[in-house]
């Protein structure tokens, strides 16, 4: 693996942060959110700030921008200097002028970061309107130029488009164009590729590198993804609950991490090497899907419109106690297949055999007895539990619907809390009192309460930090061993798929392009699309958990 080994000792220092402390209001009597953070970024350098959620990465970036939420967070100590300008002593107006002109920022989710009701061209132009005295004609020309610089196709059309009319990658290019149009000295990128597909992520990362090269911009890159860090960083700073625990050049950090926390963080990165194959069990498959087709839309009042073919001729089966991964990027149809299996929607045609019954076209009433055999865990544990219900009430709702007495259900719920590793008194508490990982455990317990045959996990670990992700994956494995559940695991993350799946289906635009044992598909992909997915996976040549190149034993 080739790391960046550029030397910045002679380069001009762009940003220094010295002993920066950020606190909650004094009334909260809480420890500081940032505790004496110091970092330096030089011209042309890429500094990665890594850490888990709540470690203070984003607070650091907002403090530099002077955009800390007012009345909630306060800088209580330290200095931030941008090429000789002391940022913390600037007035509101002076800071407003510095933003975008000298330091710019791009964010995680380009869909929500762009104003939905303004044309994207106008949104870029607004930066010029706010900071320069260019004429309307000059402004337009500059906007078109920067849009070409970020390699947007068909610039004239995109200039007039609204954000929802563009793809995720195009939206992030617009954000980058907006941030770089005034050629700032420092670009802060807060998880800019986390919401994107791997292939798009790769393009955006190389775009940022290209523009950095061209303009000598210093980049502060915030991410939780060690793969991305390995690809782009010159220097890495590791943060943990408001403290800076370690910083080093990238290769040093990955080969010889000094701090326990850094080692733990690296060990938790799932390997791209597929798990060892488990013996294939005998017996009939629990779930058998045949020629599943799903077409959305179509019809139309005046004119017949063609529908969207979201799943085409999907066929697979899963045996008891096995895990099947459905892998693909957004728009691949993987979630459509999941929704059809759960019968949240009715497939256009095809068969879904659950045990011995074809449930593909059953009515709502006919489905009821089969529902309990099929349970689901969703991606976002913050929104998939009713915030006004205690955990216990959420857990027993399903079994009580199917005739179990509340007392028996509660006893089982208490038992399950032990299995998923939560204290028993969790049942009397509310979802907001738990962390993301704990909530996902609760969501899993809720599904398992129904004693299902098949558990569908729809991006169930995608919203979690790597260390938590590893624990939840372990829990799923554990439950499978104990209870013999079959798992259908929907994911966009090849590393996760490699860790948990026995078999894998790769989907692209509604079609299954490759399927087979995980070890075969991921280690020796036959289809071009699968290969491009694996090649786009950042840091794929590095074995993070063992601090060395993959294959170097």
């Amino acid at each position: 693996m080739l790391f960046k080994t550029r030397n910045f000792d002679t380069a001009k220092t762009i940003l220094t942060v010295e002993n920066l402390t950020v606190s909650l209001p004094p009334a909260a009597k809480a420890p500081p959110v940032l505790n004496r953070i110091s970092l330096t970024i030089r011209q042309g350098e890429t500094v990665c700030l890594v850490g888990e959620s709540g470690s203070g990465k984003s607070v650091t970036s907002l403090a530099i921008m002077g955009l800390l939420p007012k009345d909630a967070l306060f800088v209580t100590g330290g200095r931030i200097t941008l090429s000789g300008t002391d940022l913390l002593s600037q007035s509101q107006n002076a800071m407003q002028d510095i933003r975008a002109r000298r330091v710019a920022m791009i964010f995680q989710e380009p869909m929500t970061a762009l104003n939905p009701v303004m044309r994207v061209g106008d949104q870029i132009e607004e930066v010029l309107e706010s900071h320069t005295s260019m004429s309307a004609h000059e402004r337009r020309q500059r906007v078109i130029d920067i849009m070409k610089d970020v390699h947007l196709p068909d610039v004239e059309r995109i200039h007039r488009s609204y954000p929802h009319q563009l793809s995720g990658g195009q939206r992030q290019r617009i954000m980058i164009a907006m941030a770089l149009v005034l050629e700032p000295e420092l670009l802060i990128a807060d998880e800019p590729t986390t919401a994107l597909d791997v292939t798009t992520q790769q393009q955006i990362l190389s775009l940022i590198a290209e523009l950095q090269e061209k303009h000598g911009t210093a980049v502060l890159f915030i991410t939780h993804d060690m793969g991305v860090v390995a690809e782009i960083a010159d220097t890495v700073y590791v943060m943990k609950s408001g403290d800076l625990v370690e910083n080093a050049p990238i290769e040093t950090l990955l080969r010889a991490p000094k701090q326990d926390y850094t080692q733990k963080l690296l060990r938790a990165v799932p390997s791209l090497v597929p798990r060892a194959a488990r013996p294939v069990p005998g017996g009939d498959p629990v779930l058998r899907v045949e020629s599943l087709d799903m077409i959305y839309g179509g019809g139309g009042f005046f004119v017949k419109r063609p529908g969207t073919h979201a799943a085409k001729d999907v066929t697979f089966d899963v045996a008891r106690g096995r895990t099947l991964g459905i892998v693909g990027e957004s728009g691949s149809g993987k979630s459509t297949v999941a929704r059809c299996i759960m019968r949240l929607i009715a497939p256009t045609s095809g068969a879904i055999h659950l045990r011995d019954t074809d449930i593909a076209h059953l009515s709502r009433a006919q489905l009821k007895p089969h529902r309990q055999h099929l349970q689901v865990v969703f991606q976002d544990p913050f929104r998939s539990l009713n915030p006004r219900w205690t955990v216990g009430r959420s857990l027993i709702e399903g079994p009580v619907n199917y005739g179990t007495s509340a007392r028996d259900a509660m006893a089982r719920a208490a038992e399950l809390m032990g299995i998923v590793g939560l204290p028993r008194d969790s049942l009397d508490r509310y979802p907001h009192q738990f962390s993301g990982g704990q909530r996902q455990r609760i969501a899993i317990a809720r599904a398992v309460m129904m004693q299902p045959d098949v558990l569908v996990a729809d991006e169930a670990v995608s919203a979690l930090d790597v260390s938590v992700q590893a624990q939840v994956l372990e829990l799923l494995d554990d439950l499978q061993e104990k209870l013999g559940i079959t798992i259908v695991f929907i994911t966009h993350d090849l590393r996760v798929a490699a860790q948990i799946c026995d078999d894998v289906i790769v989907m692209q635009r509604g079609v299954v392009v490759e399927q087979g044992p995980a070890a075969a598909v991921l280690a020796d992909p036959q289809h071009e699309y699968t290969r491009s997915l694996i090649e786009a996976a950042p840091g794929r040549a590095w074995d993070f958990a063992n601090f060395r190149e993959l294959g170097a034993a």
Binding site: M65, Q96, A100, L114, N115, P116, E126, S130, Y162, H164
Partner: protein, 314 residues
């Protein structure tokens, strides 16, 4: 978009047909003989017979309905039982004062309430916010006629700046005179709408101000006023528009009290007079017109959404 427009306009037909049927049956379903209701207690049998003949009440009900609908489609809403003038003329005369005052009211309300709501949301939980919210509660709770009389007392009697009552049509006496006489009733009516729209603006803005693109706008170094009015307000517009639209429709039909206090010859008073006098053709016409107003205003609101939010496409 055009397809949607055509569908929406076509959808007006069944709605208005149902209203028309209801209005038609209003007279026929009232207990007793419509002719007797119309003629009053002192009528002779000959008089009753003449009324029945004149109204076509001797014909089968479906024939009556078809001929009534036929006249309706030609704009013939019948003749007032009291004054004997065609209803269409009566309503026509009264409609304009009401619409003019309603428009003035909405303009005043929006001009005051929207900035108030924006300010309250921007300075959330500050004294500005609390002041706006307290005003809002007051605007809701004080009855319209009390506010009207207070305004008259202060501005007309004590200060002597404005006339106590009366109305001047802008087309005849000029816009200045209309404003001079119309401002107090419009302000009176506006109070409750200011309260309503300010509350809605504040709530909608509070939600939008927490969005990512507001942070982006600030990160771009855009001025705060521009962040508020160009980025936030337009995104907050849809619920605000809904309140303004329904508010306007309510104004057309429900301004009786204000029209009475300020002695404005509008349709609010026409309706009340008609109900008190049991002038059925006028009541029927009023129901039809009010329903039509609601349907049309709703259509306009739905279409205006697409102007403010390009994601809404029908």
């Amino acid at each position: 978009m055009l397809g949607y427009l055509i569908r929406r306009v076509l959808a007006i037909i069944p709605v208005m047909l149902i209203v028309a049927i209801f209005v038609f049956l209003l007279l026929r379903l009232t207990p007793g003989d419509p002719a007797a209701i119309i003629a009053g207690d002192m009528a002779t049998p000959e008089q009753l017979e003449r009324i029945r003949e004149a109204m076509g009440l001797n014909q089968p009900i479906h024939t009556q309905f078809i001929s009534w609908m036929g006249r309706l489609l030609q704009g013939d809403l019948g003749t007032s039982l009291i004054s004997g003038t065609p209803v269409i003329t009566m309503v026509g005369q009264r409609m304009f004062p009401t619409i003019n005052i309603a428009l003035l009211t909405i303009v005043i309300a929006v001009a005051i309430a929207v900035p108030m709501g924006v300010l309250a949301a921007w300075r959330h939980r500050s004294w500005v916010d609390y002041a706006v919210m307290s005003f809002s509660v007051m605007g809701f709770s004080v009855p319209v006629f009390v506010i009207g009389y207070i305004f008259i007392l202060v501005f007309s009697i004590t200060l002597g700046w404005l006339p106590v009552q009366g109305y001047a049509a802008p087309a005849e006496k000029g816009f200045g005179e209309f404003l001079y006489r119309g401002i107090l009733p419009a302000l009176t009516l506006a109070t409750i709408y200011i309260a309503l729209i300010a509350r809605m603006t504040r709530a909608s803005m509070l939600e939008v101000l927490g969005e990512d693109y507001i942070r982006t706008a600030r990160a771009k170094g855009v001025k705060e006023s521009r962040v508020l009015f160009r980025h936030a307000l337009r995104n907050a517009a849809v619920p605000i528009l809904t309140v303004i639209g329904t508010g306007f429709a309510l104004l057309i039909s429900g301004v009786v009290v204000t029209e009475s206090v300020f002695n404005i010859p509008g349709i609010g008073r026409l309706t009340v007079d008609a109900i008190l006098a049991r002038d059925y053709p006028v009541i029927q016409a009023m129901i039809l017109i009010t329903s039509a107003t609601y349907v049309v205003v709703n259509l306009i609101i739905d279409i205006s959404y697409t102007i403010f939010d390009p994601r809404i496409r029908y």
